[in-house]
């Protein structure tokens, strides 16, 4: 077991290569630039292709094209660039093309800043582009988990024929930690008989998102997609709990916020306050049930997030009025400290 010291960005890039990704299309934007910079050298060395696209709009459509051939493909970006990709992501989801995306979140709205944030939560889990579609959204909290989830992202994309989004705040992407990279034997292979490879020895394949015929309607396609999304909901929800059994106050947080909150909870426990943590690893599908089951009279929930209050809305939906739900956080570069989280817990309990 050899560990190497790398940043979250590099963990995504190298794990993608290990996962068999040979195609990358992207456009520079801070704080994810290390990914394209790394892959511009690494992919050709591995027999793959790196293209610096003219925009994120072009990049996501290049991903569409490469994914349509059945190849493992990835693009990465940061908040403003992710906004520009939304049209393409809607098409990719509609066409059910597997691919991996990463959004290394920075401050917004607008150009915002380049500091870490978690303010693209709505965009990630509620759609972002037009129409009824879902992405599988994975939220690591460490560089190790980033590496592992990158490998898993490619497997899930192929398994469900669905785009998978890695959602990280900029801090996690730029932080270095010792990592054991995933092994290539974790690659899962799925048949891709739908892929465009040239109609040799088979009838033609068509990839489309337009359904005009009365007997072939979008309503039908949407029902097909919903069936898949329900299957994902049943099979995939991932989360971690920490000291929730006897907790009077449960924090719900992901990524860096979750990691800091855990230490804040330890401080609270030392002060005799029963606090706990639910950390969603899949933001979509959202671990609604574990939150709902933990809710009840006298218990309080606190969403700690580096945004003005987005995750908190899903916590409220899950709790469904059974407990008080509070929000703690600011978007645009604020990162919680364990002491701040502890103070907030004290204030609420």
């Amino acid at each position: 077991m050899t560990k190497i010291l790398i940043k979250g960005n590099i963990a995504i890039a190298e794990s993608a290569v290990i996962a068999g990704c040979r195609y990358y299309f992207g456009y520079p934007i801070t704080p994810q630039n290390e990914i394209p910079m790394y892959l511009s050298g690494r992919l050709p060395e591995a027999g793959g292709v790196f293209v610096q696209a003219e925009s994120e709009l072009a990049a996501i459509n290049m991903v569409f094209g490469a994914a349509a051939t059945g190849a493992r493909v990835m693009t990465t970006t940061s908040s403003p660039g992710y906004s520009l990709m939304q049209e393409g992501i809607s098409y990719i989801a509609a066409a059910e093309l597997p691919c991996v995306l990463a959004n290394i979140m920075r401050g917004g709205p607008g150009l915002g800043n380049i500091a870490p944030a978690q303010a693209d939560y709505f965009q990630a889990v509620k759609g972002g582009g037009h129409g009824d579609y879902r992405l599988i959204v994975l939220a690591p909290q460490s560089v190790q988990e980033t590496a592992d989830l990158t490998m898993e992202a490619f497997n899930l994309a192929d398994r469900y024929r669905n785009p998978v989004l890695l959602l990280l705040d900029g801090l996690l992407a730029l932080m270095s930690e010792p990592v054991e990279l995933p092994k290539p034997d974790r690659i899962e292979k799925y048949p891709k008989e739908w892929a465009l490879t040239g109609a040799k020895g088979r009838s033609r394949n068509v990839i489309r998102t337009l359904w005009l015929n009365p007997d072939d309607r979008v309503t039908k396609h949407n029902c097909h997609l919903l069936e898949k999304y329900d299957r994902i909901r049943n099979e995939l929800i991932k989360y971690e709990t920490y000291k929730t059994e006897d907790a009077d106050l449960i924090i719900v947080a992901y990524g860096t916020s979750a990691r800091v909150s855990r230490t804040g909870i330890d401080l609270a426990r030392q002060a005799g306050i029963k606090a706990g943590l639910i950390r969603p690893v899949t933001l979509w599908p959202f671990p609604e049930k574990v939150i709902r089951d933990a809710a009840g009279p006298g218990k309080k929930f606190l969403s700690v997030e580096m945004s003005m209050g987005q995750l908190v809305e899903d916590v409220r939906l899950a709790v469904n009025g059974k407990s008080e739900v509070h929000h703690f956080g600011i978007g645009g570069g604020w990162v919680p400290t364990e002491v701040e989280v502890f103070e907030k817990i004290k204030e609420l309990v």
Partner: protein, 245 residues
């Protein structure tokens, strides 16, 4: 009895949805004939546009993907980078190619992607109801230029071939017209050259076809062909614009 004319292998039997007199049907067939003649049907992956030709995948009997409005050159780039030995082409209208998709076209050409673009210039947005396109002629009436296109405020029509001709990665550019049989034969030859260039790995090629849109021009089929011969060709001269093969 010898068969002298039949449906190309690369076409399906599906009835086309195009209006009477539309140029898309002829252009589709020319592409299919050329794919057959080069014997590359099983190696071909086409990228359909958003526009009247969005349903091209119903009519061609080879692998086809749809793409978002204007993004076909980026989608084609993604395909070609995975399969450098397959035949990859986009088929795009003027709005798709040079209005909403101008940036994707320009940079695809500038990278010298070894793909072929079949560009259908009918001077209007056919699908959405005959609005002004980047190629609408000066003075031409459309549903969004009711008094005729005024270059002072709406700009001049964009000559795509001329615009692209200075780019080193672009190897073959020809403008053809589907107004007369003789010109349709020339169009077929131009497509042959462009696709052969791709097979020879020369780089980016584009064939622009001037095609009629009787419905949105408010003309009958015959008048619309005359409009191309008398007016459209004046602004968009036919011929080889660039040949570095």
């Amino acid at each position: 009895m010898a068969i002298v004319f039949k449906k190309p292998r690369s076409m399906t039997d599906t009835h086309m949805h195009y209006c009477p007199g539309c140029g898309h049907g002829v252009a589709h067939r020319l592409v299919a004939e050329v794919i057959d003649e080069l014997n590359v049907r099983e190696e071909t992956i086409a990228v359909a546009p958003v526009g009247c030709a969005v349903l091209a995948y119903d009519y061609w009997d080879f692998d086809v993907t749809e793409s978002a409005h204007g993004r076909a050159p980026a989608v084609a780039t993604g395909i070609k980078r995975v399969f450098p030995d397959k035949v990859v082409f986009t088929y795009q209208g003027d709005g798709d190619l040079i209005s909403i998709g101008g940036n994707e076209l320009l940079h695809c050409a500038n990278r010298g992607e070894n793909i072929t673009v079949v560009f259908i210039n009918n001077t209007v947005y056919g699908m959405t109801g005959g609005q002004m396109a980047p190629t609408t002629l000066p003075g031409q009436k459309t549903t969004t230029t009711p008094l005729g296109r005024d270059p002072a405020t709406e700009g001049h029509p964009i000559r795509v071939c001329e615009l692209l001709s200075s780019i080193p990665g672009v190897k073959y550019l020809e403008r053809v017209s589907l107004d007369k049989t003789a010109n349709i034969i020339k169009a077929r030859k131009a497509l042959m050259k462009a696709f052969q260039a791709q097979l020879d790995k020369k780089g980016f090629s584009l064939v622009e076809m001037l095609t009629p849109c009787p419905t949105n021009w408010g003309m009958n089929a015959h008048e619309s062909l005359k409009f191309i011969s008398n007016d459209v060709i004046k602004y968009f001269p036919t011929g080889v614009i660039k040949d570095e093969l």
